[in-house]
């Protein structure tokens, strides 16, 4: 099966400069059950009417892109079983996410930068940007940096 977000390695072994690259669009159903589970298991005590826990800005973005996040890593030359790590994220909310909506989720791999890593030998830093919206109404935007161990590829 071809990679949904195809990418080629350059002759030097450095990540290809062919970014930004679109991730297949997907959707995320923000159900009351999912919100309850998130609140219960994170020991949240605050809830407000039909408003979802704000961590869904991150959860809906990652869980809602058109392919699992591991396939995004694989498409960028990494592997989920090498233990990629979240490094940082920025979330902007146009409005609070609501329970009971199926959101459209669109993302891009903005960049991949290879850096030497004391722990991994070398690591690719992926920068993803993912929008969560309901039709024409924007809800949240996630910018996420993930560190993918690349062994001795530096």
């Amino acid at each position: 099966m071809p990679n949904p977000i195809d990418r080629t390695e350059s002759a030097t072994g450095q990540p290809s400069p062919a970014y930004p690259m679109a991730i297949p669009p997907g959707h995320f159903r923000l159900s009351a059950e999912a919100d309850k589970m998130i609140r219960r298991t994170s020991f949240s005590t605050e809830a407000w009417e039909d408003e979802a826990h704000p961590v869904f800005g991150l959860v809906a973005a990652i869980g809602g892109i058109g392919i699992p996040i591991g396939e995004v890593f694989a498409s960028c030359g990494g592997a989920i079983d090498q233990g990629p790590l979240l490094a940082s994220c920025v979330l902007h909310f146009a409005r609070p996410l609501k329970i009971g909506i199926t959101y459209q989720v669109n993302g891009t791999v903005e960049s991949v930068t290879r850096k030497p890593s004391r722990r991994f030998g070398a690591a690719d830093h992926l920068r993803l940007c993912i929008d969560v919206r309901d039709g024409d109404t924007p809800y949240s935007r996630l910018t996420l940096t993930v560190v993918m161990p690349m062994g001795s590829a530096a």
């Binding site: 589970m37 298991t41 020991f43 704000p54 996040i69 233990g83």
Partner: protein, 129 residues
């Protein structure tokens, strides 16, 4: 000038929710569900909390301290893992010079490790537009 927010604590991070979150995130990383996989990658024989749960802990502290508000913007830096069985403490401050700005730190006291730092800009729900 800043003011301390009430701290927030979990005595022991449970393993069971990690699989539920990983499923919702469609995250197949075995370190969240398989202690042997976590150990093989150098995390020790305990499963690793998915990063978004750690962010939820920080947001829980901030939201409890500032009810009636919702984040407009969140900046989070993940620096260490939280493992099943860890006690977790979230502390934070409110920035009086910039109303709505709070900073939170998620720590694992037993390992003297900072798991993440979070900066949140809150807006009153009625002002969200």
């Amino acid at each position: 000038m800043t003011g301390q927010l009430p701290s927030w604590r979990i005595e022991a991070v449970p393993q069971e929710p990690m699989a539920l979150w990983a499923k919702l995130l469609r995250d197949a990383n075995p370190i969240h569900v398989d202690p042997a996989a976590a150990e093989a990658l150098g995390f020790g024989p305990r499963t690793v909390n998915p990063g978004p749960i750690n962010l939820a802990y920080a947001l829980n502290m901030v939201m409890a301290a500032r009810p009636g508000n919702h984040p407009r913007e969140i900046h989070a830096r993940f620096s260490n893992n939280i493992l099943s069985g860890d006690a977790v403490e979230v502390s934070g401050v409110a920035d009086f010079a910039e109303p709505g700005r709070c900073c939170a730190r998620v720590r694992v006291p037993e390992r003297d490790a900072t798991a993440m730092d979070v900066e949140v800009r809150l807006v009153a729900r009625e002002d969200f537009r």
